[in-house]
Symmetry: C2
Subunit: 218 residues, 2 copies
Amino acid sequence: MVKKVKVGLLASGNGSNLQAIIDQSERGELPAEVVCVITNRSDAFALERARKHGITAIHLSHRDFSGREAYDAALVAALKGHGVELVVLAGFMRIITTVLLDAFPLAVLNIHPALLPSFPGLDAQQQALEYGVKVTGCTVHFVDEGTDTGPIIIQAVVPILPDDTVESLSLRIHHQEHKTYPEAIRLFAQGRLSVKGRRVMIAGGHASSDASLINPPV
Amino acid sequence: MVKKVKVGLLASGNGSNLQAIIDQSERGELPAEVVCVITNRSDAFALERARKHGITAIHLSHRDFSGREAYDAALVAALKGHGVELVVLAGFMRIITTVLLDAFPLAVLNIHPALLPSFPGLDAQQQALEYGVKVTGCTVHFVDEGTDTGPIIIQAVVPILPDDTVESLSLRIHHQEHKTYPEAIRLFAQGRLSVKGRRVMIAGGHASSDASLINPPV
């Protein structure tokens, strides 16, 4: 039995990934225990999700702090105070500073709704639609000081279909997010991740060498 | 029976994509006839491949022309002289100007060994390995004035495996190139491609909405 890793979730809004992680943890499918949920917005639905599951819900408004570093120091204090070992960003709309990153080296994860390095930043699904790519997806990565630039742990690909809107595409990507984000946490908890340069090495398990996805299909 | 489209292939080197296209055309699997192969290098193996199949092989050295436009004008003259309707770049290491593009509007194709817009330009496989992405692939696109920026027709995805080298990854991508490039020519020949903004609309056929490729697998 793998020891459960203590997870602190940071969110700004709805937190659907957060729900997927909480659900899998509760069902015992994930060697993780979500010990606190922190938001920077008092109206974030993520707070309600946490409370419903008896998880400590904390609102830390960035407006109460003099700057990013001061805010991140408060985050670190709250996270460390709850014994957090892994910080998971779930729609947390704040730029992270080295104050947080140095406190949790190679232990801050993010998920982005595109195949990075394509379409970093906001509105990734809309960027993909406007560019006209035929495939997109999501990327779970370690967070570094850049925007969506950290070492990549896992990527999932989906096709873009002719009638796709931002909503339909987001839904298709969400489905993959809810699988890949828990999986990345599992790999972390099992101690199977190591970083070599920019590459994340994963002990055991990779896609078949003849796996492919083609859109339109051949 | 679809009318065969007359294809002119431009190459600078080995031309393995060119071989796949010639082979499928000869076998009658592709509604296309390769009417000429043009290279800018006299030692391009592509010339030999063409001759072996009885296809007109032309060497046009860029050194014999005063600039890109003059060179492209010569290309256009040679292509039009052979009745070419579709220009297919197969490892052609020259920047294309509007002289060629205006002569063949929405009728110049290129293939790039990455999931554009990620890793444009040279050494795409090495770029992908160094970045540490978990998936990459190839992209067939209409050529515009930028480098690998034109509207995307088809993309194929493959995983990157832990032990991959540039060679092993290139081989895996080549396998998809040899499927997707002929398919793009087929779609063109069948009149199924139209461009709306940056998006290529394809009459009939797209990947299943629940298709996915995840690496590492979940």
